[in-house]
Symmetry: C2
């Protein structure tokens, strides 16, 4: 028997196997907080075709059940079936890029010229067993041996003290002793058994949560997991989440959901690689200021209120036992420092990964994610701003918008004569929607072919049936087959233009703040989800990116997780992250009149001042001549 | 209507009032962990006479109900009643001696020449409110202001960070900031409201738990509470408790019971003095090594196993939130350091209170409680030993033994001709038993009058009906009326002799260890429950105390709680407690052959070597001549 997915992918299954088990066995991981007991209600899938035996519907609501939703852990096939997996139910464990990336990452670490120095150090001690003549307490015995090795002033927290007596005796007094850089005791393990040492780097994005499982001995990336941030059900952006947390009292819920997202990723990673929970001995967290506050259990209310004050930017060390993470309870948690309410640890982490803070050349760092933050500077100074670009490039607020996953139109061309679109779909199956890079392509192509004007409005004179009137007004039909339609509406285009205008205006204003012209920027780092797939030329045509030579642009992908990975491995880089956060001057765009002017000018395609985009100007002239 | 107690005390009560409420209103406090809901089953009393309406019997077992046990919180009188309150049900709040003691204690603090310096310090800060141009995070704002006052390197734990934003805003940015001596942030309160500052000193005895509520501003003792350690139901001494903790898995139960004992005392003290839980901002704990380990949640197993190793002697600071104490959750807990498995923080605390470690004269410190510890030394050296004297002076293992509370025979004389005893009873009512000081009197009087011989056996030739054969063999009838008999049996006497012999042998051996003779001891401090009431002369006759001039003896009462009180108030004295614990050399008596010899010799009355007790020798000669 088989399970078929809408992308065409086919998996096998037996009658005795739940859908959850069969999917997991074949590398498709679902969110399953309760471990398949039918309690948490998270492994929802939609049954499109075929008959199944459903053992329990758990907490599913009657309308959900009517629409074909089942719990994968409680459902067994009676025949071949076709199912759809909603994005919220999906975990991604063991990314295919992981193995190739692992080498790149090690190279990156080496390129910084730092030694591997995780949050937890260790030392081997051979303690003299107690006798009636040497009967000091266990802690004092340990302290004495540490002192002989020059380690003084060690701090012992309650959990460690409570475990020390059995640990020393189980190890026969020959121990490996783990401790943090700030001299907090972490663990005792038997010296004769090589202890495995793992750490996790976590990027808590507003939309996705990514976990890197790392071998701390050699720095190797073992595996990767990612999932949608299940806070998404409370709102797409940080503002709606803050409102939910403060006004609806949903703070605990938000915190629980991000912690269980991380744990849901950790569990299959541990199972897959036979790693015990206790062997994960340190954690690094990177996230924007709101995500970090929520993870830390700090009420984010004041982030949203003028004058936008976070509770804390430089987070103290924390311990896993208090955070709820399923690692060694004693594992220290390092949190990437934040800069301001809307420039968080994810940006500091990204700047760290970019190395721009180490070079003398002036660079521009743009994180195009759910929000849109920019940094300009070099090894002497750094300025930053948050642009409120909104999550449209992640699919939110766009009729057929989606993330860059299987089924998304990722690139697109429009024939200038027939106006017929030609596109590529991730996974090569039928298109299901359009992702950020596809949107950029579509808009610049529609602009170049004259389908839309400088304001992003449809030019009704263009002779094609693809421009039509839809539910939200005019729209452009990208794809249709068997009742499936993928369109881009004028409302979608307005949203995208607002996003790109916010980003461009941010860059523009920051440059003015530091009295620099655009061409002093020698390098542009693009970070964020759809990084690698974006067509730079087209983003310039749209006026989202500044009109600079293409070779100055570099893609960093998810730079936040890369910086978290670097911080997990190096004490020097953790220190440098602190320096970056201290150095960065945050400019509040929302209170600047000049920003509004810049923004209004940038709402056009590519800009009201075409001289800022000489390449585009030339291109448009050429096109005119062609016609 | 009235409630009558066996001591003759009469209290009033109305039909609508539960016994618990009526007793509390008139200053008789019962253990009531659930606050009078009939759930915890701790406020048991025995109904001796009179009819009551019993609303619920909660968890009481049928045999208990049959024997007249009721829950005081669920029982309402229909007429005048007579009840008995088992000692386990009783809390003592607001000791009569408290107020007079308060002055003495302040004098004591002053006599040390130290300033009042509690665990938590405070400072007033006027923070500039955040603006859009000065929008650093709350923690960094606080850190900046602290830095301006020279306070750097402050540590902020999670609970503090989670509360800081609201606290700063509620205080309008003008705050009183509390922090520990080791630079841990504790609280923020509005600067314009004078914050009350209280602390609690706790003595966790094997038999009783005592709490001092102290005003930290002026050092005044506000009130006192005490109760029986409810771990008593698992055994009288530390060994049976350790066995219960380790072999029966009752560890958590033991820990919970001591924490709830302390909380049961704290609650009525707070109510009585209108003190909010948050205003109790520091805690000091003194207890023997086992009690301290159990309070700390540390498995005491290795304390009992050769070579008798505690998990920790020098305890780190702890926080109330983790201990379960109902004070400010952020309150730091200082634990008096222990010396060895059987010489604990209670002894260090007692030595601190005695000041013997500050003087050049050589002193002997004896704690005669559930165990029996001794210390010899001065300002240069200290040696100590635990004697395993057993809890018989607290009433345990003695047929009619009881603690020195209402109804106990506390002193006794025997007419040398008629052999009739004459005694005093605490509270002046009918005698209900005999306490430690009464036992010492009884034995020395019986010895002097020839009722018992040097070995503690009854001399059957003595012409009195008071020597008779009882259930356990020969016994001496001290009192009888209406079927109530109070006797001292030969088995009781054996127990008492074993106790006194253990203590004397300990002193003897310690002196030999340091090569000193008895007469070099210039001062003897007697600490422990029955301290003040013991007749020194009679304790010497019995051979329990060394035969030294009477003026060298001083009574300290519960020196452990006094030392805890001193530690609560002074940083210098906390440091000195650490020095005492480091300095003390512990001698393991149990492994010493010489100790067994000393012990065997001390089992006689007063001793096999009568030359060690010249005063007694003379007394016996005089008596002989009289006859």
């Amino acid at each position: 028997m088989y399970i078929k997915l809408p992308t065409g992918k086919t998996l096998d299954i037996s009658k005795e196997e739940s859908l959850l088990q069969a999917l997991k066995r074949q590398g498709v991981y679902l969110v399953s907080s309760c471990g398949g007991k039918g309690i948490c209600g998270k492994c929802r899938i939609k049954l499109l075709e075929g008959d199944c035996r459903v053992e329990s519907t758990g907490k599913l609501a009657p309308p959900e059940i009517d629409s074909g939703i089942v719990l994968a852990c409680q459902t067994f096939p009676n025949e071949d079936i076709i199912i759809d997996i909603p994005k919220e139910s999906r975990l991604v464990v063991g990314d295919k890029i992981a193995l190739s990336k692992s080498g790149d990452l090690l190279e990156l670490v080496n390129s910084f010229g730092v030694e591997i120095y995780p949050l937890v150090r260790h030392i081997t001690l051979d303690l003299p067993p107690p006798t009636i003549n040497d009967n000091i307490s266990d802690i004092e015995r340990l302290r004495r041996s540490l002192g002989e090795k020059g380690l003084i002033g060690m701090r012992f927290v309650h959990r460690f003290v409570a475990s020390v007596s059995d640990a020393l005796r189980n190890a026969g007094w020959k121990i490996t002793f783990g401790y943090t850089v700030s001299n907090d005791a972490v663990y005792i393990s038997p010296a004769d058994k090589e202890k495995e040492r793992y750490g996790v780097a976590v990027d808590i994005g507003t939309t996705t949560v990514v976990v890197y499982l790392v071998n701390l001995t050699d720095g190797r990336l073992i595996d990767v997991g990612s999932t949608y941030n299940s806070q998404m059900r409370y709102g797409d952006d940080v503002i709606t989440r803050i409102i939910y947390a403060t006004e609806s009292g949903g703070f605990e819920e938000l915190r629980d959901s991000v912690v269980s997202d991380i744990n849901n990723l950790l569990t299959p990673l541990q199972e897959r690689h036979n790693i015990r929970r206790e062997d994960i001995e340190s954690v690094v967290i990177a996230g924007n200021t709101t995500m970090t506050h929520i993870f830390w259990g700090l009420n984010p209310a004041y982030i949203r209120e003028d004058p936008y004050i976070p509770t804390v930017n430089f987070f103290p060390r924390w311990r896993a036992e208090f955070s709820g993470l399923k690692t060694d309870p004693m594992a220290p948690i390092y949190t990437l420092p934040c800069v301001a309410s809307y420039v968080g640890g994810d940006i500091v982490s990204g700047v760290l990964a970019s190395k721009m803070y180490r070079n003398s050349e002036i660079a521009l760092f743009m994180d195009i994610g759910t929000n849109g933050e920019i940094v300009i500077g070099n090894n002497e100074w750094l300025v930053t701003a948050a642009c409120s670009a909104g999550p449209c490039f992640e699919g939110s607020g766009i009729r057929h918008g989606m993330r860059a996953t299987e089924g998304a139109i990722e690139s697109l061309k429009i024939d200038p004569e027939s106006f017929e679109p030609l596109f590529n779909v991730i996974g090569d199956g039928e298109p299901m929607g359009i992702c950020g890079s596809g949107m950029i392509d579509a808009i610049s192509e529609m602009f170049l072919t004259g389908i839309i004007d400088q304001k992003g409005k449809f030019v009704r004179e263009v002779k094609t049936d693809r421009i039509r009137d839809g539910l939200d007004g005019p729209e452009f039909l990208i794809f249709s087959r068997d009742g499936t339609h993928i369109v881009l509406t004028e409302v979608d285009i307005e949203n995208i233009l607002r996003s790109k205008a916010a980003m461009y205006a941010g860059v523009s204003l920051l440059l003015k703040e530091v009295n620099l012209s655009l061409d002093t920027i020698e390098r542009v780092y693009i970070a964020g989800g759809f990084g690698n797939y974006m067509d730079i030329d087209k983003a310039i045509i749209m006026g989202m990116l500044p009109d600079l030579p293409k070779e100055r642009f570099s893609f960093l992908g998810n730079a936040s997780i890369t910086g978290a990975y670097l911080s997990l491995l190096s004490k020097d880089l953790r220190r440098e992250a602190g320096v970056i956060a201290s150095k960065m001057t945050n400019i509040e765009l929302s209170v600047s009149r000049r920003f509004m002017d810049e923004y209004m000018s940038a709402l056009f395609l590519p800009h009201t001042d075409i001289r800022l985009f000489p390449t585009v100007e030339k291109l448009l002239e050429n096109r005119k001549q062609e016609i």
